[in-house]
Amino acid sequence: MLLDLWKYLILICVPVIGSFGPFLVEARAADHTFWNKDMLHLEFAQMKKHPNGQVSQTFIVHRPENQTDKISVLFQENQRPEVYTVPLDQNTFSIFADKPSSIRLFVFTRAGQTHHVVHTDMVLFGKSRSLALRTLAKPSEAAVLKTLPHIFLVGSESYYWHQTGIPLTFSLKTQFHPLHPVRFHVADNHQIKPLAADTLNPLQFVYTPSHDKQLRQAGSTAVKHNTVFTCLAHDKKLYHLAYTFQLHRSRHAFENYTAGAIALAGGFLVFAGWVIKKRKTPWWKE
């Protein structure tokens, strides 16, 4: 009798709990608490110019907890179809460029039912006669890129010098429709902020990075790295997607044209006044 009761309980409860499953996943997807320790993310480390003219960018990979698959690192160069793979040396890897190269980089792995994908774009200004070492990815690995869901920065192919104070638009590329409304967040100086959805396109999010005092004090080539991330649920799987990008200080936000005009006029008037005051000799021709 008791055994039968258990059978009935199981028969009733499993579908009920099962039907709540997607909602639990969805609830997880809608918040941003998974950021940092639960999530695969990339950190830009040293960019180095080598004596042979090559330029390398090193990355540090922060692994997600309970990672089950190996971490794959794939990249494409100058919008060409070839896909290259980079071996991971513990938690770091480097990409070399022998010529000016626009790099589109993907790092991805899996932790149980959670898929982690980090994407980034960058430009390396290599200038070398010795070819950078590259390993072509296997066709099966390269094919993954076509279906890999990822966040991308709209217009990043044509413009790489992203600055504070200028709006950036992020969007999503997936082969499926997420179960819940998509929300993007940004991790900026250890603060998590939600991104506003574009009024015309709910799958596009606009982020205007605020000016950063440290970047202003550092040189014009100094960068900080922000990460835009989201979590999607589909087919009882979770997708933690991130896009890491480099941000420079604003080039034009602090330009003061009035002060410039005053300095220009000041220089002109002081020198012209000095010339007029000091003039003694007539011009020979007149």
Binding site: G53, K127, A222, N256, A259, G260, F268, V275, T281
Partner: protein
């Protein structure tokens, strides 16, 4: 006649350098004249920028200077020499866009009947080292950025204060370089200096013909004049010492007039000085046949002639 050809050449090259990039002309980044890279759609860049840049100039780590990558620093220099050597100082008065800008300002002053201010020889001699001090800073500052940790906003130090940077882009409708950048103290310092210097040079160019050329760092070319087939010679025995050459010179060079040669030397003496712009005004105004000669190897490009001078001045 020569003056007209020169003016025509200046205008043609002004159009080529300022707008040539829009028509697919790119003459590289080692031009020996002020073809400013801050002009959008220009046909080539002034070599001074390459000199200060990372990788191709002196903003480079010491270790690179002793490696194969140094070829990237040498290549623009080689290109600069290849471009400079055949024409030498003709780059200044015949091709440089900023030189033409100065000529336009001078023309306005002349039309307004405003007198030019005179600069004594003493003042000129005192100012001569300024360009070489600036040239040294142009090399040392990028080296200090790459090797001694100087703040990177000191990068491109000459371009940041060069008056051509705000002025030349005006001819493409770009006024964006007339500002003070309040980003940090280094940018404020550089942009404020740039604006004050631009004001000073605009006034200077107005009151003194080719005022900017007195300080032009491309006088660096003079260091390599011996390698050039371009020669400017004076026949000291023929010279009457009238002083026309000095009076007609836009940069008041006295050396051509004063050069007497030495007893043991032949009559022809090289009088191409560091300030010479190659405008040939002196040759045009010299009343003695073959006293002043511009040569390319042994081929006479232009030599002074009494007949030419008389015809020119009688027609004015």
């Amino acid at each position: 006649m020569v003056e007209r050809i020169r003016l025509f050449s200046q205008h043609v090259f002004f159009i080529v350098f300022m707008y040539g990039g829009r028509f697919g002309i790119h003459l590289g980044s080692a031009l020996p004249c002020f073809s400013c890279p801050f002009v959008q759609g220009c046909a080539g860049h002034c070599y001074l920028m390459a000199l200060q840049r990372t990788h191709v100039g002196f903003q480079t780590a010491f270790e690179v200077f002793f490696s194969s990558a140094f070829v990237h620093v040498l290549w623009p220099f080689a290109l600069f020499l290849i471009l400079f050597l055949p024409l030498s100082k003709l780059w200044c008065a015949w091709l440089c866009p900023f030189c033409l800008f100065q000529d336009w300002i001078t023309l306005i002053r002349k039309r307004l009947h405003i007198r030019e201010f005179s600069m004594s020889r003493q003042v000129r001699n005192r100012l001569k080292p300024v360009k070489y001090i600036l040239l040294a800073l142009l090399i040392l500052i990028p080296l200090a950025i790459a090797n001694l940790g100087l703040h990177p906003d000191w990068g491109l130090p000459f371009c940041q204060i060069c008056p051509a940077r705000p002025i030349l882009p005006l001819f493409t409708g770009n006024v964006s370089n007339f500002h003070i950048d309040m980003t940090n103290s280094v940018t404020i310092g550089f942009t404020a200096t740039a604006m004050i210097l631009t004001g000073v040079f605009l006034a200077g160019i107005f009151f003194k013909e080719r005022f900017f050329c007195v300080f032009c760092l491309l006088a660096l070319m003079h260091l390599f004049k011996k390698l050039s087939p371009f020669r400017f010679e004076k026949n000291v025995h023929a010279c009457t010492g009238c002083g026309n050459c000095e009076q007609m010179c836009p940069v008041d060079i006295a050396d051509v007039h004063l050069e007497k040669g030495k007893n043991h030397m032949p009559g022809a003496v090289d009088v191409l000085t560091q300030d010479c712009l190659g405008c040939m005004n002196c040759v045009e105004s010299c009343p003695v046949d073959n006293a002043l000669v511009f040569k390319w190897f042994d081929f006479k490009i232009f030599s002074s002639s009494r007949q030419y001078m008389t015809r020119k001045w009688s027609s004015k």
